[in-house]
């Protein structure tokens, strides 16, 4: 056992306990709690005893565990409570999971982002369970009058072997709840885990397959009105005037009005960003009526001036610039090509790259690019708000409840404690719901209407409102000596309006002469984090480029990478290398073994890729076949090192989804602009990957590890784009450099 200090000293823990008792558990609705099994319903306890903010125990031994973080499909609502249950030493079948509300007094980092929920939650979740177990043991020791050290636990029971006595957790829960939380608790050894490392099914499974109202868009309330917004059709435009006479006269319409998303003197935070802050709101009784009235609005738009504003970046003020003008994708492409040809600001330099390129035996140069992307969560943006004079309840899909609570409180003129934000299961997040302007909008609309409202975006609203993945570009150069050793590596990467560069990642540290430069170009198109920000492009570009360098060097692509990683491990260049070269090489070796790499099959064209991001390591081999002249992805084999795997089957699901999602975006998806207007606004023109285009088979292998777990929502997504491009090359004889690859028509047409 490992002894750790609880994060609570006695006083603060009591305080949080008291707060938790003051209402956290009360009023949980159908929306938040997972449906207990029929067996659990029959066995519901008569009384619950609160042990700490994370858990309560029933008089019959049933346990309710709170899942603190927002659920966007990454399955934390199952895996986080599993960690608590492990340390509590309870049988998983006796656990009911509830979604916690936003409560910063008890929970830390209630945020879905950066693949960090499990990594950051790990210690607190274990401690919550271990603390509970400790208190139950103490209560049993008291009852039995034996030393606590003589008591063991297993599956919700306490044992005193010497006297052959047994108690269920439920029998001492009442006494345990009255005890003071310990200042130190013992945590289990990894080898003793019984729940962590075993596959447990999604706790919301039954609710999902029976269509229960789990999502924000499903919320109904007596007297609730439906609200929609109209926003400018193009970036660089704003509202000039509107005529709502016809819309107001339409059936079911309650109100049409202009609304500013923020108060005039408000400084936007990083998660407030939205290009369109002056909106027309249509409110009515039903969705269809509001949709129709919105179409009847007569609106005039005008050009926006050049905008310079301040933004609060987690406490630091930052200047932001939205240039005037209606932007075009062709101009974006020209800008990227231009920028890639001029010297940019140096982010990292090792050795003497200039000199090395001059004396190189072979030099290879390649450029890669990708377009803007819309997140396209399947559940369009929406939020429920019920704002009265002195209190606001907001409920719906949000990845950043803690940040948005501040934003909406400022907009409504209410103190934080008068704003209650409740989290629903989300129909996808992918980073889009970090940016909660729609929550603030919903609050402001409800306040104006003095009624509960649900703001609903149409797909077209959702896809044309901004917060896109930036458009990126990367120029690479590599130098080989006469023995085909990589002697210099140069990357110059940039984007509109953000750069994708990760200067301290592989192959930095593995090459003696290394240069990384970056650039950005301002745009009035708003962007935001999109599943594995930056990595979602740079991984594929770099891994495609390395494939070409390996080919030029006449080396096997896996062997070539392993040689570099060996260098990085044994004799690293520079001191700021982000990755662990041994773990990186580990996934490559595992995927080589599991995919039977090197075993030739004339009909199967293979590409390999490996990447480190969000603290985890992923290598993938993609097998492609050609059917009727078209490349078809036959199989993906993945090897992953994310430390301890909490819920293996759910982890495999994420790895499979990451691969499919990555292939889809690299191959098919793009948002392009003409005169500031997104040229795609729904799934007829914006292509997402479909069944027939998905790999026929995906096999995922995890590196066995005792290292604390790291994230998995993002890491399997970026590298697959490199494996795809490399397999496409093998299948078609042509390299693919510019996403979406489907647009490189010369072959795929």
């Amino acid at each position: 056992m490992t002894l750790v200090k609880t994060s609570y000293n006695r006083r603060s823990f009591l305080r949080t306990s008291a707060l938790a008792g003051g209402g956290l558990m009360i009023g949980f609705s159908w929306l938040a709690s997972c449906k207990p099994t029929p067996e659990q319903i029959v066995n519901m306890p008569n009384e619950w005893f609160e042990i700490n903010g994370y858990l309560k125990i029933g008089d019959n031994g049933m346990v309710t565990i709170m899942s603190p973080n927002p659920e966007i499909g990454q399955n934390v609502k199952t895996s986080m409570p599993m960690i608590v249950a492990e340390e509590l030493d309870i049988d998983w079948k006796d656990v009911i999971v509830e979604q916690a509300a936003l409560n910063t007094a008890i929970f830390k980092r209630q945020l879905a982002g950066g693949s960090q929920s499990i990594r950051h939650g790990w210690e607190a979740l274990r401690m919550a369970g271990a603390t509970g177990r400790h208190m139950l043991v103490a209560a049993a020791a008291e009852q039995w009058q034996v030393p606590a050290e003589e008591i063991t636990t297993d599956a919700g029971k306490l044992f005193h072997k010497a006297s052959d006595r047994t108690l269920g957790y439920g029998e001492v829960a009442s006494a345990a709840a009255k005890l003071t939380a310990p200042e130190e608790v013992s945590l289990k050894e990894v080898k003793d885990f019984k729940i962590i490392g075993t596959s447990r099914k999604n706790v919301d499974g039954n609710n999902i397959v029976t269509g229960k109202p789990l999502f924000g868009i499903d919320i109904q309330k007596e007297g609730m009105l439906i609200a929609m917004i109209a926003h400018p059709p193009a970036f660089g435009m704003k509202l000039k005037s509107f005529d709502a006479t016809e819309a107001k006269a339409m059936p079911g319409i309650t109100s049409v009005f202009e609304m500013k998303t923020f108060k005039e003197d408000y400084t936007m935070s990083a998660f407030d960003i939205t290009a369109f802050q002056d909106l027309i709101v249509v409110v009515g009784k039903t969705t269809w009526e509001v949709m129709n009235a919105k179409k009847a609005l007569k609106i005039e738009w005008e050009l926006t001036p050049d905008i310079k504003a301040k933004m609060d970046m987690f406490g630091n003020t930052m200047d932001i610039h939205f240039p005037a003008g209606l932007e075009n994708s062709t101009a974006h492409t020209n800008e990227m090509v231009h920028q890639s040809k001029i010297k940019q600001s140096v982010v990292r330099k090792d050795g003497n790259p200039d000199e090395s390129f001059k004396k190189a035996f072979k030099v290879i140069e390649r450029s890669y690019s990708c377009p803007f992307l819309a997140h396209n969560c399947m559940e369009p943006m929406n939020f429920f708000a019920d704002v009265t004079d002195d209190f606001a309840v907001l409920k719906g899909p949000i990845q950043t409840p803690e940040f948005m609570e501040k934003s909406v409180a400022a907009r409504l003129g209410l103190p934080l404690e008068k704003v209650d934000i409740q989290m629903t299961r989300m129909g996808g997040g992918f980073g889009r719901r970090l940016y909660g302007h729609y929550l603030t909008e919903a609050g402001a609309i409800s306040q104006q209407m003095k009624a509960p409202i649900k703001l609903v975006y149409t797909r077209e609203d959702d896809m044309t409102m901004g917060i896109y993945r930036p458009a990126y570009h990367a120029f690479y150069r590599a130098a080989l000596d006469e023995n085909n050793n990589l002697i210099a590596f140069h990357v110059r990467a940039g984007g509109i309006p953000e750069s994708p560069l990760e200067a301290n990642r592989f192959p930095a540290g593995a090459v003696s002469n290394y240069l990384a430069e970056e650039w950005t170009a301002d745009s009035n198109i708003t962007v935001g984090a999109f599943r594995a920000p930056r990595s979602n492009f740079i991984a594929g570009a770099e891994q495609s480029f390395l494939d070409e360098v390996a080919e030029l060097a006449g080396k096997d692509p896996i062997e070539f990478r392993l040689e570099l990683l060996k260098r990085a491990q044994e004799n690293p260049v520079g001191e700021k290398n982000d990755y662990d070269a041994e773990r990186y090489a580990g996934v490559l070796k595992l995927v080589r073994e599991k995919s039977d790499w090197g075993k030739e099959n004339a009909n199967i064209h293979r590409g390999v890729s490996a990447y480190f991001c969000h603290n985890s390591y992923v290598a993938q081999v993609l097998d492609m076949v050609v059917e009727n002249g078209q490349p078809v992805v036959q199989k993906v084999t993945a090897a992953i090192d994310c430390g301890i795997v909490v819920n293996p089957d759910a982890a495999r699901n994420l790895a499979e989804g990451g691969a499919i999602d990555g292939i889809g975006h690299a191959m098919y998806s793009a948002i392009s602009f003409k005169d500031g207007k997104p040229e795609q606004n729904n799934f007829d023109r914006y292509r997402l990957i479909r069944y027939s285009e998905a790999p026929k088979e995906i096999e995922t292998h995890f590196v066995k590890s005792d290292i604390d777990p790291t994230g998995l929502g993002e890491p399997p997504y970026p590298p697959i784009m490199g494996a795809l491009a490399n397999a496409l090359y093998k299948a078609t004889g042509q390299r693919y450099y510019h996403q979406p690859f489907i647009s490189e028509k010369q072959i795929l047409g």
């Binding site: 609710n207 397959v209 029976t210 269509g211 996808g428 997402l688 998905a694």
Partner: protein
């Protein structure tokens, strides 16, 4: 506004509504059957799939006035206790990630299996190609459809 008599999940319902209103919104806003999901509104994503008689249809493109005598089944009415073979297969394979598109997937798959209880991989792909899953659970959905087909055919 006009009055319509509907048969939804085996229950007779009456509603007065604009005849152009898509069944998607009749179900969601008027009958609080919110298992049927809004995804795109133009029949491109399949999230709103319901059964009209035995056929899977996109409820966002089905005006209430076009329903007539035909029975409507939604995810809430697919089975009494969530135990339709397709639902059970989805649970067994733990298909979902975010879960939002899955009601539409299940409704499409269940209608498809009724008409073709022993499908090939290609037939599954063809039948399911209109249902988008942004999380990328396609390989699991295919597995679940095969699992369901096996259990139906036993």
């Amino acid at each position: 506004m006009a009055q319509f008599n509907l048969n939804i999940n085996g229950t007779k319902q009456q509603i007065e509504v604009d005849p152009t209103t898509p069944m998607l919104w009749v179900l969601r806003d008027h009958f609080n059957l919110v298992g049927t999901k809004f995804g795109c509104g133009i029949a491109q994503c399949g999230a709103c799939t319901i059964h009209l008689g035995d056929n899977a249809v996109r409820s966002c493109q089905l005006p209430v006035s076009a329903v007539g005598e035909q029975s409507i089944t939604t995810i809430e009415g697919l089975s009494e206790n969530g135990d339709h073979p397709v639902q059970k297969a989805w649970l067994q394979e733990d298909v979902y990630q975010c879960g939002y598109c899955q009601a539409g997937q299940i409704m499409n798959a269940s209608a498809f299996l009724k008409s073709n209880p022993n499908p090939t991989d290609q037939e599954i792909e063809g039948a399911m190609n209109g249902n988008i899953c942004r999380c990328g659970t396609y390989t699991r959905i295919k597995k679940a459809i095969k699992t369901a087909a096996t259990s139906i055919n036993i």
